[in-house]
Amino acid sequence: MSVLKADHISIQFGGLRAVNNFSLEMNEKELFAIIGPNGAGKTTVFNMLTGLYQPTEGAVYVNEKLMANCKPYQFTEAGLARTFQNIRLFGQATVLDNVKMAQTFRTNYSYYNMLTRTGKYYEEEKRITERSMELLEMFDLQDKRNYFASNLPYGEQRKLEIVRALATDPKVILLDEPAAGMNPNEIEDVISLIRRVREELGKAILIIEHHMKMVMSIAEYIKVLDFGETISEGVPEVVQNDPKVIEAYLGVHVNDSRG
């Protein structure tokens, strides 16, 4: 089943066509990547895939459901989650609460239950806490569950963002530069974390990344953007050697006789 599909989406801001004719289809447990120079429109694509922007042309499908004029939370309800390039944790909340907050829409008690603490209130609260702890333990954050999210070291904040996104129980998760600002050791951690998310939790993953080694080592399929256009795509070996990709990044024609 297709978990995420972009059908020839484009977006136009006034006179600027930021992304043109982008298409993508992902099935369960697949791991794709979008790469390209800065300003190529990668995060704009993400924003269209998550409901923050509405494409001016084309359509987005999450788990085969057409997302027309939907708000971001509806994308999440449909089974998609994302992290952000600049960390957007709930800084004044604890680690545990951050994870709990992501499960709001999966909580099954009513306003009345909340006011009177009857019925399913205690049941659901217990269930959510347990599930949150499970996720935290899986990523070794359980000891810091009562820390304020803004007090975690940078690498753990990024991990928490991913854990929080996973708490929404998506079929597909979008990671925007998960390895940004990390040293090679930390990148190794991120790579194994991403692998675990795919293997153990069975999620499909779409990442935007600049660290080429990381992308080439884990992605099954890559799309390359430049100035909003898809200039290349394919498996890592193909993309790595595509002259158009090299030119976009380095700006030098491979066969330049003067070189």
Binding site: T50, L52, K71, P72, Y73, F75, T76, E77, A81, R82, F84, R88, L89, F90, G91, Q92, A93, T94, D97, K100, M101, A102, Q103, T104, F105, R106, T107, Y109, Y111, M114, L115, T116, R117, Y121, E124, E125, I128, K144, N146, Y147, F148, S150, N151, R164, A165, A167, T168
Partner: protein, 347 residues
């Protein structure tokens, strides 16, 4: 027996809350606290309810409502009108007075809640300063409308409201309001509101329907304000539209922000202390608002957490609304100023 003692110890509020009431009522009965002081205490209680209500919107959800007195006005006038009409119809046995009062209060709350919905909905997309000005405008519009409506006394005010509120009822509703706020904060609703406060875009992306929860917060808050309004009407027994203007709204802002925004205990202590203080310090009557203004600036500059705003009432297991004893007020701190210790607080 031991089991009961243990249960009581864990749920100590079951004893403490009635005890406080009995204490105050006893002092009233024996005349140690005269009627004036009792009325001050009641007004303090009403202010506590209002500040709690404001805390739900400004503290918990991070919105900027600065015209909250408008909701109180709606509750006050609607409930007063209801009880006046019923009483003037005449011939009611004393026992049904309670029923009338409760009904009036309920209607006041509901009417205010409806206005909460009416205000909350169009303002969903507004941020910060704009939202503030619009809420201010709402308060003024309400006041203007009341001023030109003859059936509720218009600019002359409404008199002859039956004396239905007393210490017991005010105390009860204060406790209920605190209960509601605590249950709200310590639930998925409260967490959703805090998420919206801390990072609205992230909240939206994490599946939280921000519009829905903002409205829920507004409506709940407005309902409580309406209840407070009803208490107010039946305590003072006289209403005038100008009472519910911007000045009254700023009173609640001072109680909230100076007291400790985001935490329940902060709201309680802020409201009560700042209501009682002018009574204790006579000279403050003239200079009350001057001091409030200065206090607000000083607090914001030097102690954004508020004067209180922590675990003052730990025995009541009050959620402090920002989780683990630091709340919305922490957002006021300089960027880059991290918490000195990672508080591993009690749940």
């Amino acid at each position: 027996m031991v089991k009961i003692m243990k249960w009581l110890k864990r749920n100590s509020e079951v004893i403490i809350i009635p005890f406080i009431y009995v204490l105050i009522a006893g002092l009233q009965r024996t005349g140690i606290l005269n009627n004036y002081i009792i009325q001050v205490i009641m007004l303090g209680g009403i202010n506590i309810i209002m500040t709690e209500s404001l805390n739900l919107v400004n503290g918990l959800t991070g919105q900027n409502s600065i015209g909250h007195a408008g909701f109180m006005a709606v509750g006050a006038y609607v409930s007063a009108l209801f009880s006046k009409v019923i009483f003037n119809a005449g011939g009611l046995p004393p026992t049904s007075q309670t029923l009338v009062f409760l009904l009036a209060t309920l209607m006041g709350g509901i009417a205010a809640a409806i206005f909460g919905y009416l205000i909350g909905t169009p303002t969903l997309r507004l941020k910060g300063d704009y939202l503030a000005i619009v809420t201010l405008g709402f308060g003024e519009v309400i006041r203007s409308i009341i001023r030109i409506t003859p059936p509720v006394g218009a600019a002359r005010g409404m008199t002859g409201i039956p004396k239905l509120a007393n210490l017991f009822w005010v105390y009860l509703f204060v406790i209920l309001a605190i209960y509601v706020c605590r249950n709200f904060m310590d639930s998925s609703y409260g967490r959703a509101c805090m998420a919206i406060r801390d990072n609205e875009i992230a909240a939206d992306t994490m599946g939280i329907n921000t519009a829905k929860y903002k409205i829920i917060a507004f409506v709940t808050s407005a309902f409580l304000a309406g209840v407070a309004g009803s208490m107010y009407a039946h305590t003072l027994r006289y209403l005038h539209p100008d009472v519910f203007g911007y000045t009254k709204s700023t009173d609640f802002l001072v109680y909230l922000y100076a007291g400790g925004v985001g935490s329940i205990s902060g709201s309680i202590l802020g409201a009560f202390t700042l209501t009682a203080l002018p009574e204790v310090l006579r000279f403050m009557k003239e200079w009350r608002l001057v001091i409030y203004g200065g206090l607000l600036v000083v607090i914001i500059l030097f102690r954004p957490v508020g004067m209180f705003g922590g675990n003052e009432f730990a025995f009541l297991k009050l959620k402090t609304g920002g989780i683990k004893s630091v709340g919305f007020s922490d957002l006021f701190k300089r960027k880059g100023h991290k918490e000195l210790s990672n508080k591993e607080g009690i749940q």
